[in-house]
């Protein structure tokens, strides 16, 4: 294994995901494949030579040279604005990866898996869900996905379709719930987290991902509920 280098990438597809997010499929010649949960760095170069680098999780996994990202536009965000509103199929950028061996799911591990996503934090967790379904191996999965409203959920239809049997999905709405939804609307608290996650005695492996503040709150709630901090893996996307 050698250290990843910057590789040329081209946008193959750009598909709207929500009113403020897009799914991008990048063609990366020579991409070595990646594990579910890994990320890459994107480097954009302007005509005047100015460069910006950001990290993005990979929604796809396994072999192949087509890499799927999903980007949510951050208010006043430089790179997310470009990726969500400006870039078109055929445009070039550079990527470095795959990166990260910590926030990955190992299909050989039979432990129950708890996924907790806030907003765009769903991206690496979706890669794990997709790998779990495609491989047919691994323990049962639960996903707790917190979004502002149903319309703000990335991959909503795919996630609803995945939910069955060994995969349980719980939605949480912080601003507005769909019509007829009986639950509480608001930020996740310890009670909501405890109700929608595996109990600590099941010894789940937990992956929490999203904006920094969301991850801190959810991880603190899990540890306070008795989960082993070493089995609560976190990835913070930044912001509040």
């Amino acid at each position: 294994m050698s250290a990843p280098r910057w590789m040329p990438a081209r946008v193959a597809e750009a598909v709207p995901s929500t009113a403020h997010a897009r799914v991008l499929r990048l063609a990366v010649p020579g991409w070595p494949g990646n594990l579910p949960g890994q990320h890459l760095d994107v480097r954009l170069t302007a005509e005047d030579g100015y460069q910006a680098e950001r990290s993005y999780s990979i929604a796809s996994s396994g072999p192949g040279e087509l890499v799927e990202l999903a980007v949510d536009e951050v208010v006043d965000g430089e790179v997310s604005h470009y990726l969500v509103r400006v870039v078109e199929p055929g445009d070039a950028m550079e990527v470095k990866g795959p990166l990260g061996a910590y926030f990955v799911w190992d299909a050989g591990d039979p432990s129950p898996v708890q996924l907790v996503a806030g907003g765009s934090g769903i991206v690496p967790l979706l890669a794990m869900l997709r790998a779990r379904v495609a491989g047919g191996v691994g323990g049962p999965f639960r996903l707790l996905y917190s979004v502002r409203s149903a319309a703000d959920a990335m991959y909503r239809d795919e996630i609803d379709a995945l939910a069955s049997g060994d995969i349980e999905v719980t939605w949480a709405y912080t601003r507005a719930a769909p019509d007829g939804w009986g639950g509480r609307v608001g930020r996740l608290g310890p009670t909501e987290v405890a109700a929608a996650t595996w109990p600590p005695d099941q010894k789940p492996l937990t992956y929490v991902c999203g904006p920094t503040g969301f991850v801190e709150a959810a991880a603190d709630a899990l540890v306070a509920a008795g989960h082993d901090p070493l089995r609560v893996r976190t990835e913070r996307f930044g912001g509040r």
Partner: protein
């Protein structure tokens, strides 16, 4: 071969940096997120992925989540990367 009274492997030999290339390869080829960082201030040991990182275009300040002390700083100058170690007691490969 000389006698080595200091212990089973004998006295230290004085060589140059080439001699540690083989052992450091294991550390440098490990994905950084799983490298275990030991804080020289509070003694906490944790995968690098769990550290607090403050990042901007030029630098990443990496702090201990336990005591907030700066562990190290990563500086970027175009294509070059500079690592400045502050309060790292040790870096080690992850447990097998």
């Amino acid at each position: 071969m000389r006698q080595h009274p200091e212990g089973p492997r004998g006295p230290a030999e004085v060589v140059d940096g080439n001699a540690i290339a083989g052992s450091l390869r294991a550390l440098l080829e490990t994905d950084a997120t799983v490298v275990v960082v030991e804080c020289a201030h509070c003694g906490a040991s944790a995968p690098m992925a769990t550290a607090v990182v403050e990042v901007d275009e030029r630098a990443a300040i990496v702090r201990c989540r336990g005591c907030t002390r700066t562990l190290f700083t990563v500086l970027r100058h175009d294509e070059r990367v500079e690592l400045r170690i502050a309060a790292v007691a040790s870096l080690s490969t992850p447990p097998a």
